[in-house]
């Protein structure tokens, strides 16, 4: 039987990749964020996942506005990163797990979700940076990937309630998978931040704390707010918390927080790093 070893959540601010690239982890600006990672490294070395199911959002690398899926499940055998147009380093690619991808797709559709299936999919910094942070010194990623994309770009976005339900359906599929994999669930992005408009630079530590205090024990509490209200509370890009909510659903019914680091600002963003184990 496959085992879900836990969940890892972190922000994916592009400049984190730049800081890693330029060796700035101990720089005073960056240190409070990077100091959140030794516990992640120790935990991953202990639980040794070999598959990662990752909820993230594309930022205009794989999807454009010509076709914008609300939910997209990768079902490829390989996933490459590519030039995002703004000078980010090019990141390592991933090996996929198409059998598990299709099992998840089967489960989602049986549960009346309608995901787009992608046998070819580029993955952007939202996916690569959390892995660069988690596995800083590897030549290739020690996990196979199942990426699940959520539209956080073009409104209407799926509700928080719908994202939690999607995650719970993924959990059901993982629980019925007959393989012997060790699966880590990952949610990326957030927390509060806003890049656009006169309110650029908005962060909200109170709302972030509410999310972090409830995500493990009562994730439904995060689904009471409409998307518009989440934008008001978390900022236009803070809606990436939807990735966290879906990933929390995929972890399973009960969770226990084993690590939390919160620091603002990283670039324009309130950054957080969290680990949960099933409880």
């Amino acid at each position: 039987m496959a085992e879900i070893v836990g969940a890892y959540f972190t922000s994916h601010v592009p400049s984190i990749g730049g800081a890693i690239h330029r060796g700035l982890k101990q720089d005073p600006y960056w240190k409070p964020f990077f100091d959140g990672f030794p516990p992640v490294h120790e935990w991953l070395a202990k639980v040794k996942p070999d598959v990662a199911v990752v909820f993230s959002n594309d930022h205009g690398l794989n999807f454009f506005l010509d076709k914008m899926p609300t939910f997209a499940v990768g079902a490829a055998s390989e996933y490459a990163n590519a030039d995002e147009g703004w000078g980010l380093p090019l990141y390592k690619g991933f090996t996929g797990h198409p059998e598990l991808s299709w099992h998840i797709i089967e489960g989602l559709v049986e549960d009346e979700f309608d995901p787009v299936t992608c046998q070819s999919m580029l993955v952007d910094h939202a996916l690569s940076i959390p892995f660069e942070l988690a596995y800083p010194d590897v030549e290739e990623w020690p996990v196979r990937l199942v990426p699940i994309g959520i539209n956080t770009v073009q409104h209407p976005l799926p509700s928080a309630k719908r994202c939690l339900a999607l995650g719970r359906s993924v959990h059901k599929a993982l629980a019925s998978w007959k393989g012997d994999e060790r699966i880590v669930v990952i949610g990326t992005g957030g927390l509060s931040h806003q890049l656009d408009g006169e309110r650029a630079g908005f962060m909200n530590a109170d709302y972030d704390r509410f999310c972090l205090d409830n995500l493990a024990g009562d994730p439904d509490a995060l689904t009471k707010d409409s998307i518009r209200e989440i934008v008001r509370l978390a900022g236009t890009q803070g809606v990436e918390v939807l990735n966290w909510i879906a990933a929390r659903g995929a972890l399973g019914p009960r969770a226990r927080e084993i690590h939390r680091n919160y620091h603002q600002p990283i670039s324009n963003t309130a950054a957080a790093t969290v680990l949960y184990e099933p409880a």
Partner: protein, 129 residues
Amino acid sequence: MPSDLEPIPGTTLFDGEAARKGYALNALCFSFNEKANRDAFLADEAAYLARFNLTPEQHEAVAQRDVLGMIAAGGNIYYLAKLAGICSLNVQDVGSMQTGVSVDKFKAMLLAQGRGETYEAAHKEMLNG
């Protein structure tokens, strides 16, 4: 929920209306994923822009590097960031352009929130300081 209907100050939701209006502008920015297109833009901006069916409003906003104008014309920040990258602007530069203060003041506003100030307090100081 009545508060849900209240506008969010300084915030534009990128919805269907914006996505329709901004399609050409966002297509321009999406094209910058290719280095050859970035080089073509830098070599002859007017000629490159002419390949896209921009509205006069979008064309003017790009020419003036007017970020709020681009957003009003349907630009989405994730795509606009690619244009900003070509112009060697990071998100603090873009924040400064949208709030009308210096980059240093914009960064100070972010750091003030990091010290525990609310956005409202930090923002007020940024505008008055």
